[in-house]
Structures are given as structure tokens and as C-alpha cells.
Homo-oligomer: 183 residues x 2
């Protein structure tokens, strides 16, 4: 299944952990490296500290107009200059998931400008969203970002804007790993 991505944290992997912190809720155990495997993850590597899994999926909130605007400027992952990454696992509260679709969309975009805010940081910041909630995982989403070192401060601004939004009142667990590509 090529939409499945597995994040192995341990002593080995393509990404060196520069910083790992708990934003809210239960901490994620520390590690030195992270590896990202698409599709069948194979056996768990020796020394694995933790594993998180998620699948890329269809757009849950984005309108056609927003999708077209995003498609015109969003960059791909794997750009040679984008050697900085962030992995941000998030779990939202039961209250969020109990809301109907129109109210979640209202909070996410009309109140919080989640999509619009993200667009201000394009094409600098590449992003891939993985859904984990239906896989019996500890988080609902794993978002992976890639950007060049010169855009790291802008990326911090993006995170600060999202975390100050009405939507984030529904985030009950969040961690942040900052990474550097080493091979």
C-alpha cells in the first residue's frame, strides 16, 4: 500500500534529530535519528525507540478553489536545498471528532485560516499529511514538513500562527521533532 508511511525513530536513519519537544500532552521518547519508509515497512530495525504510522488520504476540508490555488504553488518533497524537516504528530480531542463536518470546516478555516495561513509559506515549506486516527495509532495526524535552512524562521512563524488559532484548542497531544537530512 503505497499511501502508508512508517516513521522509525532510533539510532539509525536518514534524518538526524536536532530537537524534540512536547508541545502538549504525553511526551514522545527521545531518539537520535528518524527514518521514513513508504509502503510495506518490513521488520522493525534494531534499536527502534518508537514507530508511528500514517496514510496519505483525500482532502477532508479543502475546496476546489483552494485546491487549485495550492496546486499552483506547493512544492514537492525531496528538494535538494530543503535539508530541514519537521515531524509534528497531533491528536485532537473527542470533542473535535464529535463535531459535524460543517462545524469542523468553520473552525479550521473560517475561524482559524489553517489553509490560508499555510499558503503564505508556499513555496518555501513542502508538506505531507498522514492520517493515523483510523489505524489505532496514538496520534490522529503526522505532518511532515521540508524547507531550506534559510526558511526555518518562517516555519517557526507558521507553527506559532497555527498554535494560536481556535482550531488548536482541540489539540490534546502534540510533539515536534526538528530534523536534518544527513544522507
Amino acid at each position: 500500500m503505497d499511501r502508508l508511511f512508517t516513521f522509525f525513530a532510533g539510532n539509525d536513519g536518514a534524518w538526524q534529530v536536532l530537537d524534540a519537544r512536547t508541545v502538549v500532552g504525553e511526551p514522545v521518547p527521545g531518539c537520535e535519528r528518524v527514518d521514513v519508509v513508504q509502503g510495506n515497512p518490513g521488520p522493525m530495525p534494531d534499536g527502534t525507540a518508537w514507530v508511528l504510522r500514517g496514510v496519505t488520504s483525500y482532502l477532508r476540508y479543502t475546496t476546489g478553489e483552494e485546491q487549485a490555488a495550492l496546486a499552483a504553488i506547493q512544492p514537492v518533497l525531496g528538494r535538494p536545498e530543503a535539508c530541514c524537516a519537521a515531524l509534528i504528530p497531533i491528536r485532537k480531542s473527542a470533542a473535535w471528532w464529535a463535531l459535524p463536518q460543517d462545524q469542523r470546516r468553520d473552525i479550521l478555516e473560517d475561524q482559524s485560516q489553517h489553509i490560508r495561513t499555510g499558503m503564505h509559506y508556499l513555496p518555501a515549506v513542502a508538506r505531507r499529511l498522514h492520517h493515523s486516527r483510523d489505524l489505532d495509532e496514538p496520534f490522529d495526524f503526522l505532518t511532515w514538513f521540508e524547507f531550506a535552512p534559510a526558511d526555518a524562521a518562517a516555519f517557526d512563524d507558521l507553527l506559532a500562527a497555527l498554535r494560536a488559532s481556535a482550531e488548536w484548542a482541540y489539540v490534546e497531544r502534540e510533539a515536534e521533532l526538528r530534523l536534518l537530512r544527513i544522507h
Copy 2:
């Protein structure tokens, strides 16, 4: 994970298969019985012909107004008189999943009245929707219905109305199992 439901088809189980047919796409192998297991499914029973899995999840299209109207009249599963059931596995096309949220909602409800049509058959027909697409399953959805024998003809009308809708042009695989509770 109590949102996970596993459907075991074989020679044993609480539901006798009265009829099984392929609506569109590749057939599902025949079986005599179906059993439904919530949570950890345990080992696969001997004689299992096939297994389908899905998780109940949050509402992807329903508005707050629709949710309130549904909540006021939708019945629970397991009513003693509702000894008839149907399991309808469906897979939608890649074209459907590539549509943005607002266009899928437009097709599902504004053009096809999926939610409104279902409401006409409440409280006769109880329903539980299981999502399978992100679990690497052969179908995207497994819908389970329960109703009394006297409502079987009304249930046929519900299926006919949905299958005649614009939304169903995106259904590329569909099967239908009609079942009778035997214990």
C-alpha cells in the same frame, strides 16, 4: 480499538447468508454465514472464506442540522425485531477521491440526496458505516444495515434510489449480502 469491526465470512457465525450478489466489479466469494467481531478480532476461524475490516469514524459530510435530525430518529443496532441485515461493501473510483471536499459534498447530497434519502427510511433501517480505505482493504466502505422483515421491501427501495443517484457513477465495486440473524 473498539471502533474496529471485522466481518468473517465462512461456515459459522450469527448471520446466515440468504443472498449474495455482485452489483458491480469483481465478485466476493460465496459463504454460508457471516460473523461480526468488534475490537481485536482474534485468530481467523477455521473455514473462513474472506475477511473484511472497517472502522467507524467521524462524519465526513453531514452538517450539524442534518446530524441533529438524524440523531432524533435513527435507531440502534440489535433491535430484537430487526433480524434482517445487509452488508454492502463499496469501493469508489480514483476520480471520486481526487475531488475536493466541497465537490464531493455537492455530488453526495446536493445532487444525490444521499443523507436525505436515507432519512426517509428511518427509524425502520438502522445503519453503521465502517471506513476501510485507509486500512489497505479491497473496499472503501462497509455499510451494515438492520431492519425487520416487514421493512425489507422498503430497504430495497432505498438501495434502488441510491444506486440511481449521481454519486453511484463513482462506485466501481459493490457487493450485497442479505442476512438473517440465527443466534
